[in-house]
Amino acid sequence: MLDNVIQNITEIKSSDELLKTVEGLKSDGYRYSTMICLKADEGHELIYIFEKDNKLKNLRYFVKPGEKPKSMSGIYLCALLIENEYQDLFGLTFEGLAIDYKGHLYLTPNSPKAPLA
């Protein structure tokens, strides 16, 4: 049961450390499952979920206000959809997105801006 509980989580301190850790996970054979975005006191919390042999590995990264987190889509192409989702819903900007919908994956120009932020 513990493998799925979010208590087993690695805290990441910087965007560069995040990229390096994710590259390491890819070379270890982990597949990208998804990412979760949460509002934090003054910024956002990102939880990255990876899976290998039916076990999960979770990373938690705190995005400071105004910071542009680096995109994972250069390492795992499939990260592009979820990162675009959070650009729409939380108003984040991911640097280096493989396909950048610029906040219009789901939302139209007349939609509310960043409705979950």
Binding site: N4, C37, L38, N54, C78, I82, Y106
Partner: protein, 358 residues
């Protein structure tokens, strides 16, 4: 010179609206750009108006086809926050209804797929068999597609002897029918001509693209969340991961047909091992903390994240659905495919746009 052709959002083979901008060179796809948002309902925000029990019913409405498994996954995630084990009988009932979900979803897909490549009578056959599953689900749960079987702490309805007899009768009747359609899908010359070697995705590419479900298993990856420790109950039910190694449209079809027969075995075994007893554990208080739960839906692995803050409403609900995970694989599968084959390739991931956009 290339041309951009829109595929969807309204297209004869698509049951739901998804749009693909296809870059075509001499009738062959060379690039794809998916476009989403036509049925986005903001359900992850909507739960802010509901308590954690009512949220079960919101989750079930994410998708009309795998509704029961959405409800089951959500309730299992919240039960994890309460650190509660539900009665064993309730777990078996969830498994049985979950497999009914898989049966009717795969039969629906096989029908749509047959229609997609122009085999109308096969479409009718598959949907006729699906009706048998829906009839049983309706008798057990009260509804055909929104089953509402799961609640936080257990299940809403018990299985009576009459229900069990109906389930066993359905299994006996469906098995030869599925084997009949299997013969057509697997052996028919025309079907094979359309599917074999089409949109092949290697084992490694499918794995790295985060693909889920039959699309992943059709490429030789034996990954099925039903095997994890969280679904202990499956280990005693004769569960065997269906896997094909060729990675083409034909392989993905064969995986789904094998899974239909597996589901019948699982239902039969679950009925024979299901203990008597309670179907619900009473839960007190409000959820606190955060948890992840994964379940194998017909289209693949669904991931639920829940965060409670000690109030009756959840602070955050996040759902990663299987089609969301499978859309990037279209970016990798479609280049090199002829324009006429695009509908078949799109259908082989069994796209569910309501799930994807939530």
């Amino acid at each position: 010179m290339t041309t951009i052709i829109p595929f969807g959002p309204q297209h004869p083979v698509l049951p739901e609206p998804v749009s693909l901008k296809l870059e075509i060179d001499n009738d062959v796809v060379v690039g794809v750009l998916p476009s989403l948002g036509y049925v986005h309902r903001g359900l992850e925000t909507f739960i802010n108006t509901k308590d954690f029990n009512q949220t079960t019913y919101v989750c079930e409405r994410i998708c009309g086809i795998c509704s029961a498994l959405h409800g089951i996954t959500y309730t299992r995630a919240v039960e994890k926050l309460f650190d509660t084990e539900i009665p064993e009988r309730a777990q078996y009932i969830r498994v049985i209804v979950g497999e009914l979900n898989r049966l009717h979803s795969h039969l629906l897909w096989l029908g749509l797929f047959a229609d997609g490549f122009g085999f109308e009578s096969l479409f009718y056959e598959c949907w006729k068999y699906r009706e048998e599953v829906l009839d049983v689900a309706e008798r057990i749960c009260g509804n055909r597609v929104i089953h509402s079987i799961s609640k936080v702490g257990g299940v809403t309805k018990d299985l009576t002897k009459e229900h069990i007899d109906m389930l066993l009768k359905m299994c006996d009747s469906l098995e030869p029918e599925i084997k009949n359609v299997e013969k057509v899908f697997v052996n028919n010359y025309t079907v094979k001509q359309r599917l074999v070697g089409l949109a092949t995705m290697s084992k490694q590419v499918a794995y790295e693209a985060g693909t889920a479900g039959p699309t992943l298993r059709g490429s030789g990856n034996a990954i099925d969340v039903r095997e994890t420790a969280d679904w202990d109950i499956y280990k005693d039910l004769g569960f065997k991961t269906a896997v094909e190694k060729d990675g083409d449209c034909y392989a993905r079809t064969k995986v789904r047909i094998t899974e239909l027969l597996n589901s019948l075995t699982i239902i039969r075994n679950a009925i024979s091992k299901m203990p008597d007893g309670e179907i619900e554990t009473r839960i007190k208080g409000f959820p606190t903390g955060e948890a992840i739960m994964r379940t194998e839906q017909p289209r693949g692995e669904v991931v639920y994240y829940v965060k409670g803050n000690g109030t009756k409403k959840l602070e955050r609900l996040k759902v990663r659905t299987p089609t969301f995970a499978n859309i990037p694989s279209l970016l990798l599968m479609l280049p090199g495919v002829k324009l006429a084959d695009v509908p078949i390739v799109v259908l082989t991931i069994d796209p569910c746009v309501s799930c994807t956009e939530r």
